[in-house]
């Protein structure tokens, strides 16, 4: 396959960026999108040019590092996959492919296609945990948990924190990311004790970091590589409302 690539190049956070055109030839349809970019970079290095910087690590769709906006879609045209799982057989010979970074105020660009998603870490630090120290916990089978609840918690917990939901939302909202974590714990008895505090702190942090409001377009669910359901957002809203209505939450 021969392809034309239009790629966002930006030297660093302060620099002005622009789209730059490149050609790649002889790409195998069985190669992954990143293997195609590897070919391009190998070419650029041989020519003495600066290779394109992009984030990637596990290359099997689980670490959540990769983050390309391809032809106007987070993680590209395939559904239920990360960029690293996207294969070139999803494109046609002669295609022009536009490649951009995630674009969101809360995700500033580091270089080229790489953004800083530290805001997601900050949201988890604000309350995305159950407050237990190591040791001194009850036996794992002490509290039976209905299978449906455990499965629902697992569905939500599958989030890989890649940020596709933010990138695709016209408001750059982080609601699906936050809702997935809130919902995981809301489904489990262990998480109930701090549920009110958790949801209020995480939502407050999300707002403070500059993420927008939910756009109600469900684009996040569409583009989520792990297909996390927007019903988690409804669950988070219920949790949030009940926490707000409850007078006894002082320690937030």
């Amino acid at each position: 396959m021969d392809l034309t690539l239009k790629i966002w190049r930006q030297a660093n956070a302060q620099a002005k960026g622009k789209m730059v055109e490149y050609k790649v030839t002889g790409v195998s349809p069985d190669s992954s999108f990143f293997e195609m970019l590897d070919v391009l970079n190998q070419d650029l290095i041989e020519k003495g040019e600066d290779p394109v910087a992009f984030d990637h690590d596990c290359r099997e769709g689980i670490c959540g590092t990769c983050s390309l906006y391809i032809n106007g879609r987070a993680h590209g045209p395939d559904s239920g996959v990360t960029t690293c799982q996207l294969h070139m057989r999803k494109f046609k010979d002669g295609d022009t492919i536009f490649i951009e970074p995630w674009r969101a105020k809360a995700f500033p660009i580091v270089k080229d296609l790489i953004v800083n998603r530290g805001a997601f870490d900050s949201i988890i630090q604000a309350g995305g945990y159950i407050s237990v120290n190591t040791g001194g916990v009850p036996d794992a089978n002490a509290i039976p948990i209905p299978k449906v609840n455990a499965d629902a918690a697992m569905d939500a917990a599958a989030c890989i924190g890649c940020g596709a939901c933010v990138a695709t939302c016209k408001n750059a909202s982080a609601m699906l990311f936050v809702a997935a974590k809130v919902s995981q714990f809301a489904n489990l008895p262990q998480g109930k004790i701090e549920a009110k505090r958790r949801v209020q702190n995480m939502v407050a942090e999300m707002d403070a970091l500059g993420f927008g409001n939910c756009s109600n377009t469900y684009a996040c669910e569409q583009e989520c590589p792990k297909e996390i359901s927007v019903s988690n957002i409804a669950k988070m809203n219920r949790e949030f409302l009940s926490a707000k209505l409850c007078a006894d939450v002082k320690d937030i």
């Binding site: 590897d38 190998q42 945990y129 407050s131 237990v132 190591t134 509290i143 299978k147």
Partner: protein, 646 residues
């Protein structure tokens, strides 16, 4: 001159860890906050250790090369985590988990460490459930188990096919809680480039900020390396692209012995290589072997026809299929340990029975399981793995058998540590895959997660106190000590040297060539001639690298090629040590197979008389041969016998 002292506590096997805890030194809470600890790596071992140490009151700094601690490669572990809970009532116990792990490791692990691992395994499951990890459950609400290779009981806990992800996110959430409290300071996008010693003790590290290129100093009372394994020395492996040996290698050069580097695990169930541009191999969880049956065509002409695209696997009749694992190992069948399964696949492929377009693959078939359990049950168990396979290979594993082949996956070797998990450098610890201690010559499935979390949650927090108790009068280090100047100077000089070469070939091209040498001569089956060849080829390639590598860009910016160059330079040294260790060990054991040492049936043959030891290598300077030290292994609780899975 290194002296190996394993510091195994007194007493019967089952009492050692208890005796240790009863008598280890403690640090009182008001002193803990005067002590700084550096943890490098945020995988299961690093994140769990940092969170636990901070909860206890120490001041912790944690480092990762990724953009977030949640992305460490532990996240990619799929199948599960072992524990001796015996919930299924099928005869499991601490002793049996200990026994299976030592036997799985082909009697080359340190008994006392493994027993402790089995003892704390149950605490890990309790801890993880308390953290809200959504393990699989039965309809009655209790935890579900499945079985894994090398065991005849079901002791593996799992969270769909994403157990590593869920366990890591649990440790990451505990870590995040401590970051919020200010007890842990996180340094992301940092490469550790060297370790700093003061008066012989590890007191800090030098890092490079991968965004700005700045070289930084970090000081502490103790340094913990949780930096994972070195499987990427093969270039193609199941490891993440960034996984590297550099922190462990710098520790080796600073005086920490490197143990059993030749013990590397080649995982039997990976998606086969399909082309030269390939950058990475994807693992299909070993849990698939619970229900999948592995086979190749009995007739060579069928294999040829499949290769040529003239025949489909579903057209081959039952009687023309060779279920070679079930045939050779009736007692364990498809659930033999990984090294045995990998070699058996290679044997069939080498004999001309391999399938797929390259002829370098075997089938993993779910037809029988779908018939027995129904598609929905198979989907519930393995759905995400099947989806992953389909995305990569573009074939539906529900209707046509998967193709698999072994690939480099895990490294049992690593930094030598004593019972305290301390390396031969005082104050320098190694935990998780970065150390060598628990898996002997082969690791059983679902044991890596167990070991990472055991070290981080339940072992290191006790053993590090025993060291730090003597350090409470040592004032905080500032990083301005002259020793930091010297190490930082070396680090800067190395970067300058790399940038000044300005040659013609990319870093990746060297890495690929190293990978070819390693796979060819230091791979699944090794012999004296090949290993000697590798010992000639690797230094030549290294020399070429230092003359002709091209690194574009600048040092004072985000420069991925510079990062990779530093890592590949270290792999080029490590590869030689692996070959040297493999040459020295003329026996076959676990993941290390020497063609000269096999039974008439082609099974691995150990040499207990001459090789019941840990080979710990001491660095003697560039261009010098490393010195071999032997830690002789004694077996009190288990009798040394050849493994038998028949």
């Amino acid at each position: 001159m290194i002296k190996l002292d394993s510091k195994i506590p007194e007493g019967a096997m089952a009492d050692k860890w208890k005796n240790y805890i009863d008598h280890a030194k403690l640090v009182n809470p008001s002193n803990k906050r005067k002590l700084d600890i550096i943890v490098v790596g945020t995988g299961l071992a690093g994140a769990s250790a940092a969170a636990s140490l901070a909860e206890m009151g120490y001041e912790v700094k944690i480092f990762c090369y990724q953009d977030s601690p949640r992305r460490a490669h532990s996240i990619a572990a799929q199948g599960g985590i072992n524990a001796a809970k015996n919930y299924p009532n099928d005869g499991d116990s601490v002793y049996r988990l200990f026994y299976d792990t030592v036997k799985g490791g082909d009697d080359r692990a340190r008994e006392a460490n493994v027993y402790r691992l089995a003892e704390v395994s149950n605490n890990i499951i309790d801890q993880c459930v308390a953290q809200g990890i959504p393990f699989a459950r039965e309809y009655g609400g209790l935890l579900d188990n499945r079985s894994f290779g090398g065991a005849q009981v079901s002791r593996t806990f799992y969270a769909r096919g994403q157990t590593g992800q869920q366990l890591l996110l649990g440790a990451y959430s505990a870590l995040s809680r401590q970051i919020k409290k200010g007890k842990v300071t996180l340094y992301n996008r940092r490469d550790m480039l060297d370790v700093v010693k003061i008066d012989g003790r590890a007191r800090g590290i030098i890092t490079r900020n991968l965004v700005t290129g700045e070289i930084e100093r970090h000081a502490a009372h103790a340094v913990v390396l949780a930096t994972g394994g070195y499987g990427n020395v093969f270039y193609l492996s199941t490891n993440a692209m960034g996984s590297n040996v550099s922190p462990a290698w710098k520790a080796y050069k600073a005086g920490a012995a490197f143990a059993n580097p030749c013990y590397m695990q080649i995982h039997p169930t990976c998606i086969p290589v399909h082309g030269d541009f390939q950058s990475k191999l994807t693992l299909m969880s070993e849990s698939l072997r619970n229900d999948g049956r592995i086979w190749v065509p009995k007739k060579k002409e069928d294999a040829e026809a499949i290769k040529a695209g003239k025949l489909k696997p579903t057209q081959i009749k039952e009687e023309d299929r060779d279920y070679y694992l079930e045939r050779r190992y009736p007692a364990f069948g498809n659930l033999v340990p990984r090294d045995v399964a990998s070699r058996a696949a290679k044997e069939r492929v080498d004999a001309g029975h391999g399938v797929g377009p390259t002829g370098i693959a075997v089938y993993l078939d779910f037809e029988e399981a779908i018939g027995r359990l129904g598609k929905s049950v198979v989907e519930a168990r393995y759905g995400n793995l099947f989806q992953m396979y389909e995305k990569i290979v573009d074939e539906d594993p529900y209707t046509t058998p998967m193709m698999i082949y072994p690939a480099s996956h895990y490294t049992m070797g690593g930094l030598w540590v004593d019972y305290n998990l301390m390396t031969t450098v005082p104050g320098l610890y190694a935990i998780g895959e970065a150390n060598f201690s628990d898996h002997g010559a082969n690791r059983l499935g679902a044991s890596a997660l167990m070991q990472g979390l055991a070290d981080g949650y339940f072992v290191l927090p006790y053993t590090i106190a025993d060291y730090l108790a003597d350090q409470i009068h040592v004032p905080r280090f500032t990083g301005k000590e002259p020793e930091f100047n010297d190490v930082e100077k070396n680090v800067n000089e190395r970067i300058k040297k790399l940038m000044s070469i300005n040659g013609k070939q990319s870093v990746d091209s060297f890495h690929k060539r190293l990978g070819h040498i390693m796979w060819e001569y230091v791979g699944m089956a090794r012999n004296e001639e090949g290993l000697k060849k590798a010992l000639e080829e690797i230094p030549k390639l290294r020399e070429e690298f230092w003359k002709d590598v091209r690194i574009p860009g600048d040092t004072a910016e985000f420069n991925n090629e510079l990062e990779k160059a530093g890592r590949v330079a270290d792999f080029l040294e490590l590869g030689e040590l692996i070959a040297r260790d493999a040459l020295n060990r003329t026996e076959s054991c676990g993941g290390h197979f020497r063609e000269e040492s096999q039974t008439p049936e082609g099974e691995a043959k150990r040499d207990d008389e001459n090789f019941t030891y840990v080979a710990a290598w001491e660095y003697k300077g560039d261009g010098q041969e490393p010195e071999l030290h032997k830690e002789h292994l004694t077996f009190e609780a288990i009798k040394l016998v050849q493994r038998n899975y028949k």
